[in-house]
């Protein structure tokens, strides 16, 4: 099977967000593989181990994204592709990303594409379904289980807490939800091996695209932090008094009861 994983480098979930000059500061931030994309990498490796084939992880980013690709290779992926847009693109949006990926996949044989259901930074969740549509592939989002049996694929899909059992066939694109698997930590031998695994670097010229083909359709005009919460009221007394005061405040002051 030819398995591809779409991967994004994101801020570590521990990071606080700071803004200077209307931009999110990223100088001192730690970066990770988007947590939902980690489920995708893990699932891709498991499916390959069961059904054979090869796992290729693909990211769009700059040189720094190589680190996250190496991590995915250390987990067990076979190959990595970095589509480096640093020199060509100022701002992109989900339209841009999907267009680039569409061009990348144009000449590929694909059985299965896995992605996270959302990235924890921009959180649009658009790229997976956009790409599937562009490639005329079936897709299923927010999956929590994936079984491939010959031609038939059975998927469990999370729908706001309910589970849909979906049947489809290859090729398919899926986006991964928490609960699908437990992503492994790269082992030391895995990390050593990853250094020698192929990592191909492309630019958008290599995909026969120029800047205009992928020009964003939306633009961020401002970034801001939510207002700081003022320190709240600590309720005193024995439990009964605390609860009575709370209910009274919720009713009269906060007006939510």
């Amino acid at each position: 099977m030819d398995i591809y994983v779409l991967l994004k480098r994101t801020f570590d979930t521990e990071e606080k967000i700071n803004i200077s000059n209307g931009q999110i500061e990223d100088d001192s931030a730690e970066f990770i593989i988007n947590p939902y994309d980690e489920y995708a990498v893990e699932e891709a490796i498991n499916q390959r181990d069961e059904h054979g084939g090869e796992v290729t992880v693909v990211t769009i980013g700059d040189e720094d994204s190589e680190k996250q690709l190496r991590t995915a290779l250390a987990m067990g992926a076979d190959k990595a592709v970095l589509i480096n847009t640093e020199d060509d693109l100022e701002d992109g949006d989900q339209f841009t990303t999907a267009k680039i990926l569409e061009a990348f996949f144009a000449d590929k044989e694909v059985d299965l594409i896995l992605a996270g259901n959302v990235a924890i930074d921009e959180a649009s969740g658009q790229v997976g379904p956009r790409l599937a549509e562009a490639l005329d592939m079936a897709y299923v989002t927010t999956i929590t289980d994936l079984k491939i049996d010959g031609e038939t694929i059975t998927i469990e899909k999370d729908v706001e807490g309910d589970v849909e059992i979906v049947e489809t066939a290859l090729p398919v694109l899926v986006t991964c939800q928490q609960g699908l698997n437990e992503p492994r930590y790269p082992s030391l031998p895995g990390i050593m091996k990853a250094k020698k695994k192929p990592l191909e670097e492309l630019e958008i010229d290599d995909l026969d695209l120029d800047e205009d083909d992928v020009a964003a359709k939306t633009k961020t005009v401002d970034v801001f932090l939510p207002p700081e919460k003022e320190a709240g009221k600590m309720l005193e007394g024995d439990p009964k008094q605390q609860v009575q005061e709370l209910v009274s405040l919720l009713k009269t002051e906060a007006k939510v009861l």
């Binding site: 309910d162 489809t168 964003a216 939306t218 709370l246």
Partner: protein, 323 residues
Amino acid sequence: MSRKILVIGEVKDEALRNVSFEAIAAAKKVNPNGEVVGLICGNGELTPLGEEMVQYGADRVITVAHENLQNYTSEGYGQAVMAVIEEQAPDAIVMGHTAIGKDLTPKLASKLNTGLISDAVDIEVDGDRVQFVRPIYSGKAFEKKIITDGLTFFTIRPNNIAPLEKDPSRTGDVSEKTVDVADIRTIIKEVVRKASEGVDLSEANVIVAGGRGVKSAEGFKPLYELAEVLGGAVGASRGACDAEYCDYSLQIGQTGKVVTPDLYIAVGISGAIQHLAGMSNSKVIVAINKDPEATIFQIADYGIVGDLFDIVPLLIEEITRLK
């Protein structure tokens, strides 16, 4: 300016979800003078639902009924909605940022070769310029986005844009459109109901969330009782989910759901930054924790330091008495 705005309504358990009405209000914000055209896909009799959309502010509604639209599939709904878009040629499209909205709108945007602004919590209009406010980094920050080219296409987060008041005397045309929905490659074999009955977490006005402090699945029972008397839903921190006190579908945080209820009661939750990202924009936050140093108190409007197993039953009692 958008002259014609298509509002894609969403049906769940044979009723329109609230976010459908919120989307009508959002459409009116984008252009108060535009024509709001509602769209409902489903199976069976949809006209009464269409009339309801009119009562909430739609000027007219198109319904598409087909047996292949009984359950949502991206392909089925994609065909139905695209047929309506091609016929109506709207200048703007809005839908709720729900499981279905998240699944369907990127497909439509790809087909239409347009941009899409997902998960707006507010809309600011300044002359001809429409800015969409949306959370990034799970609510740790916000961005304002504009459409620079093509269709104004956006989704709204449930519970953030107030619907217009229902006006039962309002009338408008509700017409049925026939679309042949076929060749669906993904088949829904079964739907297993696991979500807490009644109130959906993402649309709940009140959420009672438990953390590791709740100590066991058994310990969540009083939380369910409290949620019930408040007409709310139960959520959880990652810690509680990892410890298998409850299902991952209840998880609130940077991974998991991001929620903005009117009232959020955090029970036995210490307040890791990842959890705060998922709930800190709730309107009123109550924290109950035995550790007075717990981070959750820093963002809580009201805090009680105490044993949750004493406090929660008393709270249930007090609220029941009130009602």
